[in-house]
Subunit: 344 residues, 2 copies
């Protein structure tokens, strides 16, 4: 059975298309009243992530409401540390919190990893099956994971941070522990994403959300090699999109990994990105989410400017997850502006 709308996959295969496909990071989320209604019935975010029926429901919501060109499986990057033996709580208005963190080599040795960890995430694969049934081949389904460095940040720091100085301290004081932990996380991500692909996702995206806390030399040492392992392990079975937020300084190294797609944020303009990647790399992004607070004219102009600036080989998106207080009508206007765009 073929997808009714396979625009995203065609772009990722390098085929010529009329306009960029569009989806939004965090499209399944608080911008939608029907999502907020589901959340209100539940005790918390983690309950939603672990309920396959609800995951399917909220994953479908933006496909119905916004008519985007892809669904992204509702989940959380922190299911991976949890499966490795490091459970977390989601503290309202503060974000994630890990009661236990990684400090020593013994802590790393005690973690579950690879297939043994991945098999503990059955609720995710169940969610994929339910989603695919409900989706009924309308659009491709994207599955995601946090990048090794970003998960490392949470597992060592224990919570969100502006600097992640505790996590980075380990890079400078115990690089041996850091590399061993990064490798175990990488093995788990690969096993996990293999299961997701086997369950039916069409594309995987790797979020390196905290890339921007590093310098180029550290990023090349503590993130790039692990991202490369993931891409090498998966690329023959599924297109991989890397999204290294804030890592403009390692764009060349990221490009050289050779993933099918590379997401960029609004700090990097299209012209700069193209000087490094050339015209044929599939780039994803990168409108500032705050543009969606503006009036319709500005949103259309910025959407058109973005599509023109990137040229073909582009997936339209924001440079970050859509902000929860964005007016829904503005989100729709953005999606429709991109859908009206045509490459000349």
């Amino acid at each position: 059975m073929a997808l009714h709308n396979d625009l995203l996959l065609r772009v990722l295969r390098g085929e010529k298309v009329e306009r960029p496909p569009i989806w939004l990071m965090r499209q399944a989320g608080r911008i939608l009243p029907e999502y907020r209604a589901v959340r209100e019935r539940l005790s918390g975010f983690i309950e939603l992530v672990q309920s396959p029926d609800l995951v399917a429901e909220v994953t479908l919501q933006p496909v119905d409401a916004l008519d985007v060109d892809a669904a992204i499986l509702f989940s959380d990057i922190l299911v991976v540390p949890e499966a490795m033996g490091l459970p977390y709580e989601m503290v309202e208005a503060r974000g994630p919190w890990f009661p236990k963190t990684i400090e020593t080599m013994a802590d790393v040795d005690s973690l579950i990893s690879g297939d043994n960890a991945a098999e503990r995430l059955g609720y995710v694969y169940d969610g994929i099956h339910k989603t695919l049934t409900a989706l009924n081949q309308r659009v491709p389904l994207i599955g995601f994971s946090g990048a090794p460095f970003t998960l490392f940040c949470y597992m060592v720091e224990g919570k969100g941070s502006k600097t992640f100085s505790k996590a980075k301290k380990m890079l400078y004081t115990r690089p041996d522990i850091a590399h061993k932990l990064l490798q175990k996380i990488t093995d788990t991500i690969i096993a996990y994403l293999r299961q997701k692909i086997k369950s039916g996702v069409n594309v995987v995206q790797i979020f390196d959300s905290w890339a921007g806390v590093l310098d180029s030399a550290s990023y090349d040492r503590f993130s790039i090699p692990y991202l490369r392992q993931i891409n090498e392990a998966l690329k023959d079975s599924c297109p991989v999109i890397l999204f290294p937020k804030g890592a403009w300084f390692s764009l060349q190294a990221l490009h050289d990994i050779g993933s099918s797609g590379l997401g960029i944020d609004w700090n990097i303009d299209a012209a700069y990105a193209r000087t490094i990647t050339g015209p044929y790399k599939v780039l994803q992004g990168n409108l500032d989410p705050c543009v969606l607070y503006a009036n319709e004219d500005t949103i259309s102009q910025e959407a058109n400017r973005m599509c023109n600036d990137f040229g073909p080989c582009h997936i339209a998106n924001l440079g970050h997850g859509v902000y929860p207080d964005t007016p829904l009508e503005n989100v729709k206007h953005f999606v429709n502006s991109v859908k009206r765009f045509r490459y000349s």
Copy 2:
């Protein structure tokens, strides 16, 4: 009377020197036990900022303890919004909080600005006089201000934020209000820094701490013109150092402002910066503060690498304020490593 150590001023004048001067952002602060002792006697941070005798005491502490090449007047960037009529509180472990924020043109119109605001900051100028007496010409004294865009962020958002989406929303929805507010802030910064220079500071630094939340086009519109005004107004009376954290994407425009010095963070490596600024721009920075968690060998190596990579026309510093939990011995080792360095 001449300064005993004027290395910083000589570099900023473009003179040839043997080694880079060194000071640290947040050198007067929690890394020093004598600072923590002062803080313990007080009810809060703002009390310290407003006490000229204590300001002089804590400003001198790192000159004694670390033997750095400059003192920086202990203060807070948020004294400027407060003088403009927008008071704030410092909430322990959460950061600044403004009970009232700027939302409308009427809110902007009601703000005090320029000389009228600057004259309300007498406690800062008193602090300078007391500091200069205590400093006794040992090293230059740096005074600072927040940049217009960064102060705008706090005055509209009302608190710290990872995204400053509320503040940025105004840029897209009401650029007229944003520009009027930015101009009033700029007028106040200029009047305030003129008073600081008149009171005796030898250098001023402008912290654009939240530059990195913008894209290049927005930064060129909402920050660069105001930074240029400040530099133009002050450059004939005092060297100006701009420190736009995260604004790598506008480095060319920042360089073109022509300030005496330009601070950069660790995301930007020296080689990249020099391709844009050339060899003669005085660059300040940029070691990752987390390097100071490492052992002495690593700290020395990284200090030497930094000094070599920038070459002459460089002020050694971190790429951000020193983190409060940095071991003091490591900070001293960093300072001494730079002081042993010689240009070949």
